[in-house]
Symmetry: C4
């Protein structure tokens, strides 16, 4: 019983079954082997943090505003802290998701093409199925390279230099993934990385010697964490890197403050999509304190749980400059390759625009002042 | 194990199966095609706000009071801000629901007859199936006209003048519905507006030219929002309108304050029944702040989620002068036409009266001072 | 994996299936016709307050205390505000439940016998199946008479005088039940009061004339509430009554304060077991504020939701002197008559004693200082 | 989606089906008779406190920290308040679980062997299936003896002296279990202690005379609580005991303070795993207040609900020095004897280490300063 909008927002053309970005999630199981889907959809252990990431968005409501003129509205933004390509058509970047060959034969080449076509950014994973040089040839200027510290420091540095040569605008170091265990559902489904999923960027380097553990050594402290980066390693990398260095995985305001002081160019608040410490808080829940810690102008992105334009709206209203999209990227890639990813990004943008229009925000700067409330009755 | 009241409140006569107003909701699916029911019952997208509207009422409890004399009790009230017909027998208005031919062949003529018979108000939709002139011949004096700004300003103004000539007491501009997407369930059910559902009021006007979008234009900002009204449009309308102008759709206290200052005659707190921005807060939850913003004497109505007399009680206790009834109106209309709507209104009134009696309130003025508490144990 | 207590508390003898007082609730449906059970178990309308009454208890935890000597422990108490019989063996009274013939042929005679045998109190309903004089011959000294104001003031007064002559210690006026509607489940089950269920106490009086309603009259305000008592009626009754007058049904601290000042001898916090205003708060939730309003020494009972000794413990810790038991009384009556009710009372007492022992409370005076906490993690 | 850790933490070798400590819970029903499993898994009455213990952990999230060097990390600790063996390889002790023959023929001999092999502590129950002397021959130095006060004081003292002679390092008095009722599910399953489950430590002593109750005596106060220890009994035991005396079962900060002042060597916060007062709060929820009451350096353990290394992490972050493991111990014992228990302890330690690494804690001292947050969105 409502009036119809003069310009309906229902999408026509490709994929009539898809009416919103999150529909790619529902469709993905038809395009992925069950163990692969379980692996992608799951987080670590019992998926507690995966759930927390979603609940955090659901607990917030967006307050509509009236009568504001948004006819000049847009979603463009500039993100500081990158050597090139700081202008984005929308506040969304494709998250660094490893091994995209699991979802599509052409892997990251398709994702990169979609990002380029829509004006979104892309952060290529160290563990991509295609090399960073291959991807660079297809990607737009808004491309960054995600870096895992390697056991051998010279390999780490060589990756940085390759990214620089290939025209990536920033290095994004992932710091929250030294220890990972798959989700119980992926374990039950029997997921194993197939042989064709190799880390193309690392093929030319000698394998690192496996950690040798003494009898009383801990597989964690003296094993998995043996080559985990420390503050010293970060300082050294920042010094040597020809590219701005970002950090992905910050969840504590104290860490955020120290990272900013250490010369890091920008931060990605992230709990690795619930794939690292199961039982970590929702990344959205720690965002306001981190924004307060680094100040209004410091580049800050949010990763974890984004499934819709209203999720992006909420993250930006709580202090993020832009958001990363992980699983939705892979789902769309599996369903329809580059076309799917581009379509998904277009839907996210229109969903975000609709929220902005409802909230009377013509620009992302307006959005930063939008009002969110906890879902409640207003009586305390 | 309780004593029976001397005058039982169980309803006799028509519709023995109906024992409370909300029973019309349960009965409606038998009288409506499944896609139509899905369309009416649903909100937008995932029905998050539809659910929030209901939960907000459920989270509040009414504290009974003892021994007060309510034998002179009644539910009459005067609502300021209307040119004629400011006396209502009960604090309930039929919400402006479009396309009532979906529920009954005679559409709004039946609803208007029921409102007239019971002393409730009616707000006729711009998108009614019958013309405002037809409805005016049947309706009581408590009739207002809901207005959507039209792409052509002269059409908008002509509607206002027709409403004035037809004896409507106020114009209620809906401001929260520039963008609407149907609910997922309505989409799945395949609902489409049938050809016999035309907007009768608009038949004589030339169609507006569809918005033409440039390549980089947003379907939202440069499309759907192209003709969305702005503060300037509102000021112009208020200036030209021979009738008092109300605004429906306010959800933010700042907007409420500015609207009052702009000369708006009264406000309807509403999220369009969850049919507009999915993810907006419950309208009840923002009501207290809005009442505080506009002061005690300013006309203020509440729309969204009213299903029972106790819901109406709670809205009035939190600051509303009266409430609007949307879906319940359509359900009763589908079940039994004017008789159903009148019966539903009578049940709502008696349910409200029973709550008032329990809470020791003889009048709606008393009700405004009733005590609500959050459902809790009292230990914080 | 726990040590067995030297004196096991499992009950032997009758009713081996019953291990705790609440088990009578599970067993009752075997001993009652389905519509009767639905009527007893239900509250009014949608049972919202019935549920709230239970949840309020579940949300509280009892903090154990160590090493206190409780070997002289007991549950005896004196309740002020009664003309005779102020010593109780346990802080439990049988609530005034109407029409007990629904549950057992001998009705209140059985309940009264059980109360007498266990040292509990009994509050006989105006609407009892046996006369107050019959019950008086069997009951112990801890018997009070519950009074509904009757349409004819002389009938009301005659009931008070009969209660006085029959040796009841107090009059308990019920003030929260002028309007009652049965629960949806009782309606669906088709419950009707059978012809053998007559209000024995009222048989000798002339029937009151039914309220005559004018065309515009409200069935609530001018109908059901026509004979509802007011502050004036209460003052008059207190003046004329030879017995102390209590009030049952208070839910607001302001009412409690005024009632105390008006000369009422004691109060029962109650929402009529959820059978009156559906949507009223849990009676337990308003208890602390009411205790604070009337002071530490004023007689105050709690009715609503008591199903176990730990419920009684919590009510007393929050300020009640004793508690009333309604539905559990009827269930036990249906299952095994006087024996069942006595057994249920004994189980309640032992459950309460066990909680007291755990919490280091030898007496009910100690209990009033016990610590309850909301179920939470302790991190706010 | 994610990069693989260089040293995978998936366990190889025994029990490939077991991937985390809690998996022993899922596997246990295959290795235990149904009534026995129901008895072990259940708490008392309705398992309210059993559930509360788990929920308390689930409501907390661990905040990850970045870039800290944990390569020298370990889980070693010293626990004060024991005569010998104060060094533990991990902050975990096997809880005193009675009658372990229910789970394994060799009962506590297997548990003790597992604790010894892994460097965990063991607290042997008074009601063990093997004698304390037998267990002492197998156990490591980190062995304590759990004591129930016996009706005859000389028996109590003899047990203490035997424990001293057998080289136990401390006496742990259980004070929260004077009254216990089995869970409803264990009752329904018909669990009875089988004849081969005897309390080996008590075989040589004369049976205590059963409590004789007078007619008006309470089975609780004058029965079960007749021999319950009091502050005087505790003082006397501390005076006579050649070993440090701990207390298990404290839940109130006031009790904790008094116990410390009375000369108790250390405390175990515990609600007896939900097997004592059903409706007591989660032990985790009262831990912070108790730590605050006894000061930072006083020995304090946490018992109740530990199912994973992250649970242990949270308990330590809230103030515990170490935690006790009860049901998980029995489940692992049932599944694979000493091997199972040792494996379960190793998994718990690695899970704890992984949390520590994520939170940047190299030692348990660091852990005490880790940040926990309630699961929330950060908007209040």
């Amino acid at each position: 019983m409502a009036n119809m909008p003069s310009t309906p927002l229902s999408n026509t053309g490709i994929l009539a079954e898809i009416r919103c970005a999150q529909d790619y999630e529902a469709l993905a199981p038809r395009h992925l082997a069950a163990p692969t889907y379980a692996y992608i959809a799951g987080g670590s252990d019992n998926d507690i943090t995966v759930t927390a990431n979603r609940v955090a968005f659901a607990e917030l409501a967006i307050v509509p505003r009236l009568l504001r003129d948004v006819r000049a509205g847009h979603t463009r933004l500039v993100i500081q802290g990158t050597a090139i390509g700081d202008s984005f058509a929308l506040p969304i970047l494709l998250a660094p998701v490893a091994h995209q060959r699991l979802a599509h034969e052409k892997a990251e080449l398709e994702s990169a093409r979609a990002a380029h076509a829509t004006g979104a950014g892309i952060i290529l994973s160290t563990l991509s199925s295609c090399t960073l040089e291959e991807v660079a040839r297809i990607a737009g200027r808004q491309r960054w390279f995600q870096l895992y510290f390697q056991p051998q420091p010279d390999v780490t540095l060589d990756l940085v230099q390759r990214a620089h040569r290939a025209g990536y605008g920033a290095i994004v170091i992932t710091l929250d993934a030294s220890i990972q265990t798959p989700s119980r559902s992926a374990q039950r489904a029997g997921f194993r990385l197939p042989p064709e999923c190799v880390a193309a960027n690392l093929l030319g380097y000698p394998a690192a010697a496996p950690a040798e553990l003494a009898a009383d050594d801990s597989r964690v402290f003296q094993g998995a964490m043996k080559h985990a980066p420390t503050w010293k390693d970060l300082a050294s990398l920042i010094e040597k890197s020809p590219l701005p260095v970002w950090v992905k995985g910050v969840m504590h305001d104290g860490d955020a403050r120290t990272l900013k002081q250490s010369g890091v160019a920008g931060l990605v608040v992230s709990n690795h999509g619930g794939r690292s410490l199961d039982g970590a808080p929702a990344s959205l829940s720690v965002l306001p304190a981190i924004r307060a810690a680094v100040g209004d102008d410091y580049p800050l992105l949010l990763d974890g749980g984004i499934r819709s334009g209203s999720d992006a709206f909420k993250a930006i209203a709580l202090g993020a400059d832009a958001v990363l999209v992980g699983r939705l990227q892979v789902y769309a890639l599996a369903v329809a390759g580059a076309l799917g990813v581009a379509h998904m990004l277009k839907l996210l943008r229109e969903e975000l625009e609709a929220c902005m229009a409802h909230a009377g925000c013509a620009t992302l700067t307006d959005l930063r002042h939008a009002t969110l409330v906890k879902v409640t009755t207003g009586i305390e």
